[in-house]
Symmetry: D2
Subunit: 311 residues, 4 copies
């Protein structure tokens, strides 16, 4: 399908459920997709950071896109991450995920390699030239250690290289610069500006964002869809209350003991534990080398769910 | 072949020559290998950062290892990088490069994903379990944004998980901690400690390092082999003079205009320009999205070569 | 005077006009204070980062507080920065600025010295013990290279150690955590949460902030006061339009050529050039070793003023 | 006295002993100075980072310089830190410490304020213009978050602005660039290049450094003086053994529990505990807001001393 212009609403980065031996658990994955679709989300983003894309082999990535594309069957726009270090490797992923049914691809700045704004622009131009579907830029400095400059993004938008931005930078002022630029520059049209934040969706929509890509929407899609609706209806008070409920729920990402594991193990472990406790997926295991949550930590995830009325 | 224990001497990270349309230029690659072998190097490291591993597709990576392994035919130890974000993806590369003939694999800490010392240890244990050949840890915080802690490396060495360290951290005090620990801990045996620096090999060998993996040895293998020999013979004055000549030559990495390109484009572009000017490779092109050196910048590379007596 | 609880509205960090030979230009400073008071601001913050506090000698700092305190005479709450590396030095500044008439002091985490959350808490407790007036925590990681953790701030608020937070971190999600915590924790009362952003005041107020401390309010106090009023009246559309006008005006901070000067020279130089062009201060010079704007760069500041209707 | 050109040997950054109520303990300070002088050191550096300069009030700083200058009476060159955020504040310290008897001043790049190479050069030129004694540049990115560029330092050396460099950057390759440049540039004469490392003095001297400023020399001045002598005599093996003994002793900086305190509290606490255990100073207390070592941690410092033959 052709993705909407602009793409609006809630587009969760879909978790990748695994079996105990770390294979993609396709039945759980499809149950998760159903859970999201029934929750009212407006699109799906597979192979994002929350999907543990960095941990999935090429074979597993392909399996995920094929399974979800086949199951969704064009009912919703399907975005797929093409996360790799540099242009030639990203282009290989573009070929794979579009053959498997992705409606748009989502690409970061180069990483591992040192980079430069001119190289970032070149990177996106070559990806766009190789892609049969729209390219969405993914700004995630915590992972790639480079911030996508607002002016580079806007220039790439103006020339038609990128069709949107997914901003996971945490820098709302920089995000605003893209949103305002995309609206005020006459040479930029049909560009989608999406926040990757779980915590500032009310603020992002208020300043003009088109939509949101919150990892926590795996756990509570209804909550994020409701938040999106309240923001659009202008009911600021109710939107803020819903956003605050979701902020409290997001506290689950800190359950993992920082002496035993990194922040990623804790956050992705908590999302999967929550999906497991809610009965959506079969097994809460995360990919290697992430450290699993302890039973006590999983119990604390349950308390966050209960606190948000989800258990 | 079985790699020596410890691995000593000069083990260059081999550049990957490309054709103008960015395919691996196998004839140039083999000429470069001959140039290094004739220069007296003690091993070869393909698919390292200087090899533009981050830019090579899986197909190209395989081609490089097969071509070099076939050409070298066991005359020298052949190390191959298995550079990817996390354990499952690295393990796939281990399978590929060892099938293609690598005698050891070289793996970094996880990147893109946030990580933790406990996860790093887990990562190396799983790689070692999956590898038919020794695993060498690659400490390169500039690329992966994590420093391998000395105590983690030494514990992994003691348990036989890693067979060596390639240190490109720039932190010689931390490197010394591993060198001294590897010599003083009775539970660590046969562990190779290699510096990735071009500029401090005399210092690294003096404090007990086993060898060096300098990218600039592509350009001047004789120089680095001579430096290694002078250090081992105890002729400190002559070693320092040779090291300083090579430091001056290394200045070539700054030829690229920082307003136009990143430091990687400049450094790798300079190495390849030098190999081209010295007649070793057919074409100095670097992989996308790196920005090529201008004619004037290439000319400055030539001046560095002339200054070091290499043209 | 006792500062209001909570402190709300617009509290500009007051620029410190200098004479050509870098002495405090007291008449210009008092004209600037009048310009701000007439603009309707709700408080004044002297000796902040925008005030070039890092560049002022102790004698100059004292002169600034005395001059402003004497001139304001209790009409508005007067906050004063006590910016120094560690507790004993900060405590000395507390003594000076309170003797000179400050109604509250504003202190950062320790800097230069490495620090730790436990040391940060200890720091604020000792400052509070030594201060006759309320202590406001100043979160400015770009300057001190440490982020004040939300839970540390809230605990310090609960025990009465800090009376407010000025957040210049750029991390609105972390800021929200403090705002929400301050409202939801029953042990926290009368705590003022202020954003230091020029660009996200509508968003910060919408999520519950009490006020703002925008450097650009030196240049356009009426604009920020209008923005504050529109936000409080619930006119979200008009607030957004005013905020966007101010965002465009803020573009002036980039006029300085990054090849010739740092971002601070450019931003503070632009604010002072704007105050000079608007006729508020006598001389646009900044403190050493900042690089002055060129005539052409000052002209570009003028264009930003004209674009915002201020010339 | 006029400082030697170049300044060579061991120049310890002198700890500042405090009384239990955090006043400068002058008798202990003078005992420490005697301990260092008797240990054979070649100069003294007061008000450095190891001296807790960041924690000392202006009054305490003055007291330290006066006490030490009076006690040393020109027997040894006396360097004094003038550590503050920017030029005008540093210039005030220059006036104070030179009036109190310092033979040279040691200044970092600006901090707290954002900076730029052009501003750093301007900073040092203005300090030099205001200083009656030589200015030594202090490269300590861990504290000031800026690296002094080698070419800036060499240009400042050539024009006579700075008389030396104290390098605490940990970047030995960059340090080598200054050492080699200072020796090879005909326009640079009489410039002293000193390493601030405790762990790489043999390496630094081997590549041409003039001397060292190791904090640990407070604890074991004889050891560092012996190391310096062995390096100069060319006995590389014995030098390495002595350096390794001192590296092991340096392990004491890690005794503090990272869950309870920062790295500074641990390192400075360990140095002072060691001086206390060796009977040099009266009280091991560190300045606020540093967290004190526990009795068990102090005991571990004792074990490091015993292991190095110092108890």
């Amino acid at each position: 399908m052709t993705i909407p212009t602009p793409l609006t609403g809630v587009v969760p980065p879909v978790c990748t459920p695994l079996t105990p031996d770390r294979e993609v658990d396709v039945p759980s994955l499809l149950r998760l997709v159903d859970h999201l679709v029934e929750g009212g989300v407006h699109g799906l983003f597979v192979l994002g950071s929350t999907s543990e894309v960095a941990y999935l082999t090429d074979r597993q990535r392909r399996l995920v896109v094929e399974a979800v594309a086949g199951h969704v069957g064009g009912r919703l726009p399907l975005l797929a991450g093409v996360i790799d270090m540099t242009t030639p490797r990203v282009v290989d992923h573009v070929r794979e995920v579009t053959a498997a049914g992705a409606d748009a691809v989502v690409a970061t700045a180069p990483f591992y390699a040192r980079t430069h704004p001119a190289e970032i622009a070149r990177h996106y131009r070559l990806i766009a030239a190789a892609s049969p579907v729209p390219v969405i830029a993914y700004d995630i400095p915590a992972a790639v250690h480079t911030k996508l400059p607002a002016d580079v993004i806007l220039d790439l938008a103006a020339e038609g290289t990128v069709a949107g931005l997914k901003d996971s930078s945490g820098d709302l002022a920089g995000f605003r610069q893209v949103v305002t630029g995309a609206r005020s520059r006459p040479d930029v049209t049909g560009f989608s500006v999406l926040t990757g934040s779980e915590l500032l969706i009310d603020a992002a929509l208020a300043l003009g964002a088109d939509g949101a890509v919150p990892g926590l929407a795996n756990v509570d899609p209804q909550g994020y869809v409701r938040l999106d609706r309240l923001c659009r209806s202008g009911d600021q008070e109710a939107a803020r209350a819903e956003q605050e409920r979701l902020c409290a729920l997001f506290g689950m990402v800190t359950v993992g003991d920082p002496a035993r594991m990194g922040g990623g193990s804790s956050a992705l472990g908590a999302f999967k534990a929550a999906l497991y406790l809610r009965g959506v997926i079969e097994c809460p295991v995360t990919a290697e080398p992430q450290v699993p949550l302890s039973a006590e930590e999983v119990e604390r995830v349950g308390k966050y769910l209960a606190g948000a009325g989800l258990l």
